[in-house]
Amino acid sequence: MRDASPARTYALHIGVIALLFALNFILPDYHQSLFARIMALAVFAMGYNLLFGYVGLLSLGHAMFFSAGLYGAGLTVYHLGWGVPEAFVAGIACGALLALVIGLLALRTSGVAFMIVTMMFAQVFYLLILYFAAWTGGDQGLVIQQASRVVSIGAASFDLTDPTVRYVAALALFSVVLLITLAVVRSRFGRVLVAIRENEERTRMLGYDTVANKLAAVVASGAICAASGAAYALLFGYVGSNFASIQYSILPLLWVLLGGAATTLGPLVGTLFMYYVTDITSGFTSAYLLIVGVALILLVLFAPKGIMGSIRERWLGWLP
């Protein structure tokens, strides 16, 4: 271990959370709403990072886990009239279950075949959403009414359409997932995952069940991505098939590569950076995908370690 005392690491992460909380009171309306969206999607990136960064499994189909959460939460609210907490749990359960099934199948392959298999399963999921348009709303999507997005805890009720409540809810989810990721990474399980990434044969020789560990990582990653999707549906009130398209499988990869794979804060940095680059450049051009494309190529050519990865390499060796 590079870091003997965990205090510094935890202080950094708590500090980031406190800073984000403070921003709630400082940011103008537009940026407050953008930040809420970024934090919800950074959770998606963190889920992706768990598999891609730590286990080294490059999936091109994580949009299916995100949209499993999105639809798991959205459809139960829309069709069954469930409350927000039940719908949120339903979304995560859908994602975890899907991840278990996909993991059992896809982990029989590795390398390039794993990427293509995950991409194909995600494509099937996307087409299924279009096929069952009567329930899912197809590519039009569904809008979840404001009335069904109110959480009542005891006497207090929170309206998730209110910008401040939405911001704090997104921050709460982000903080929980960030601390869970940190704990997982520092745990025995996390180190076995890194060992699998570095040398799977040797890890197996040392007596670890690599398949079971990889499957656990796929399910954890799927559940986190589903939590992000469920939160997105409930916070922003829209569920649509474009969230299941191949583009939403590529975006978390881009965010993680940009922020730094296998760093706990990288997904947030990458998502934040990409959102603001898009936001600023959209003033000059509508060619948003061009920027994504150029960013991907430049990253993979010149900075394969990403922002936080480079910082760790140059200055702060103790960054988790």
């Binding site: 392959t109 194909m120 099937v124």
Partner: protein
Amino acid sequence: MRFGPHLLLAALEGLVTSAVLALTALGLSLVFGVMRVVNVAHGEFFMLGAVLAWAVSTAISGHPAIGFVAALVIAPLLVGLVALLAERLVLRRLNYNPEGTIVATIGMLYIIQQLALTFYGPEARPVEPPFSYRILLPWFGYSGYKLAVVAASAILLVITWLVLTRTKIGLIMRATQYDRETAQAFGIPVERVYAGVFAVGAMLAAIAAVLIVPISQAHYLMGQDPLLLSFIVVIIGGLGSLRGTVVAAVLIGLSDGIVSMFFSPTLAKIIATLIVAMVLVFRPQGLFGATSR
């Protein structure tokens, strides 16, 4: 129409799809076989071929056949040039690392697609076929051009097969595919072979696109379906096996044509994609891929 003629029509349509698909998938298969690179931007080279075909054929006045022939020559050459540039500037610097090249070709996909949208626009535009002769069957008339596409594709496939198996270039390519390091030790310019293969792969997709564009119009998103179908064909046929690719293309094209005439096309796609994913999971060498054993 009764069932029999209906089925014949579906089979003919499927055959046209197969012909174009075989060419596109052959390009993808060559690039994967020789370079071990999964080219996600392959569908965009297809699209680029179609869009350039429209540009060339509208720039040239006179009989539609002149414009079409010009497009058939110029569009693939330009696409090959773009591919050569991409190989030089990006793939070579990544040292053909499988994961890096996938990310990079995804980047190329977005760049090419967005540039096509910016400069060509969101409209679907037709290209006039070089001739409009209709072959009269007892039940319906059928476009002679579509049958010409099937013939042209078959000829190109045979030429590619002859080049691969009967010429020195083919021998060099197969040697590189078999063992890169040993090939290099024997003085084969591996980097030049890679650049050539990547360009030829893109050009095959472009030729397929020019052939199909008089039937279905040129559109900036038209690369997505061929990409997915080519993946399916290459996987079912066994990665890097030419004969398997052709057999799988005919199989997929025919069944796609027939299934989507009688069932919903979305359902057909769902089933096809799922079957392929399962083939990849349980039989990674493909249904016809005996080479890897």
